[in-house]
Symmetry: C2
Subunit: 348 residues, 2 copies
Amino acid sequence: MTIVEAVRWSADGSAVDIIDQRRLPGEMLRLELRTANEVCEAIATLAVRGAPAIGVAGALGLFASLASQTHDTHESFLDTLDILATRIAAVRPTAVNLPWAIGRMRAAATSAQGDVSDIMAALRAEATAILHEDRAMCRRVGEHGAALLFDGARVLTHCNGGALATSGMGSALAPIYVAHERGQKIHVYADETRPLLQGSRLTAWELMQAGVRVTLLADSMAASLMREGKVDLVMVGADRIAANGDVANKIGTYGVALAARHHGIPFYAVAPWSTVDLATATGKDIVIEHRSPDELRGPHAPANVDVYNPAFDVTPAELITGIVTDRGISSGVGLGSLHHYTTTPASE
Amino acid sequence: MTIVEAVRWSADGSAVDIIDQRRLPGEMLRLELRTANEVCEAIATLAVRGAPAIGVAGALGLFASLASQTHDTHESFLDTLDILATRIAAVRPTAVNLPWAIGRMRAAATSAQGDVSDIMAALRAEATAILHEDRAMCRRVGEHGAALLFDGARVLTHCNGGALATSGMGSALAPIYVAHERGQKIHVYADETRPLLQGSRLTAWELMQAGVRVTLLADSMAASLMREGKVDLVMVGADRIAANGDVANKIGTYGVALAARHHGIPFYAVAPWSTVDLATATGKDIVIEHRSPDELRGPHAPANVDVYNPAFDVTPAELITGIVTDRGISSGVGLGSLHHYTTTPASE
């Protein structure tokens, strides 16, 4: 099985090696990012996307962009580090992973003793740690979630909680990859996910690369598919999980959850623990971003038509069978079991 | 208010005048169809579409294409009539309205006494009757359905049950046009309707022509819109209504009905009585057409990805608040009230 690697070190360890997701699925092109310009451009234009992947790319990218500065004085090097770190962290300010990863890099530089080469060694080590932690997190999510799967399982997913959104095997798709590794035949139904078609462009493509059976459908077809008895369970990612277990995820997730409930089909949100935001009490406290009308107008609709285009929706905890994170699977709905995790994180 | 006229006689009454729906919404172009070739081409390529509109276009088109044959002998004229009628009726055999309308034209020719000019007069009269009956049917549907609306009503619709699908003011949109005529402000939310985007291309456009407020959304956004309390009722068309009140309509209708039920929002199917098929006991007896995978692959998905692409779904009667036809509104669900209609059609 080949799980695509969205973000990794280049072969010589001097650059960030990414899949250029702007060209998928038509062309599989890898890019090596060596300068802060290249790193920021790649993140800004969605060549690399998905909160975990962006965080990793930012950390590796900060190291790579400093490699040409190692002959500077200690003071000048630290000035450049500050400027580049600030710049990279700000490219997509709403994704929490990016400033978080850059913050870790800054702290590593501050803690490092010695000269510029010692700081560079500390930065490389910290970036590599962030990369490895993300990969390990994905695998733990996958191993916990795989307990819900079985040979022949038919899983509906929405958007791309895949390897392409992380540096590892993804979030929502990680259980599927683990089950596939174990020899189980899983059949994934991938919603195309309007308006940006992440299901068509990304999820279908990466599952095909790994040899996992995938069938593409329009978002509006999921309810019929369930009525035909062709879906055993739903696994979707999450952009933010509130303290009560409400889940914000790509627009359309809520409709899938309603249809799943009507047909008695289990519905799981699958995401890294870092997605749980205990400072957000319920889904009502999550502000939903509305995006450009042009995403829906495309070339098809009247040029000036009014548009409703929220990027996310909130699925209430009562429609969610369980939440799968790297710390385990919440039993029952939302809050109770999530709070349990916060006091006794799994040792794994 | 300008309700677009999808099909009508040309100014001199010698040709079928249609809106070329292949070019909408970018360009508003009317075509005059004068030959059987032109009529068949327009129907086959969806320049004119929607079962009622196709029936009317076929009837008017048969008359128009015979206009150049009036100097033939009586026998030769009837041979040509037979050939052209057979050809036009077969262009889209699954739409029942086309062979039905052509059948009426054949019967009118058979009944006509006298020479070729008498037959042509009978054919013109019958085509005009079919046109006027379709327009009157649309208006009756609209007047019955308008009783469900009120000033300020927010109506979600799916696909295009509009004026563009008929020769009159449409089916699902007819109540909205009638309410608008009466001075009520109606706000229509139009699902874009993947994969062929009839909502974006047609529904949004024709409502804007009429000055009705319309907001476009992706199909996957309807559930969120309902959760925000922005939908008062749903009105959709129907391709076939079974005897028990199950409704086959454009794929995605079923998911809308599930979301409406969850939020306590009334859900109406709005269609001409001719859509009711009492020979079909339940929705399970309706065969669902699956269309080309390429409609979903587009330029975005992997070229060879497996696809699930049903053209229609079935919404069970228990999810339907009422069925609006030119004979009135069914009270309660499906079968009982529909059977009532068949024995006591409204006198209107």
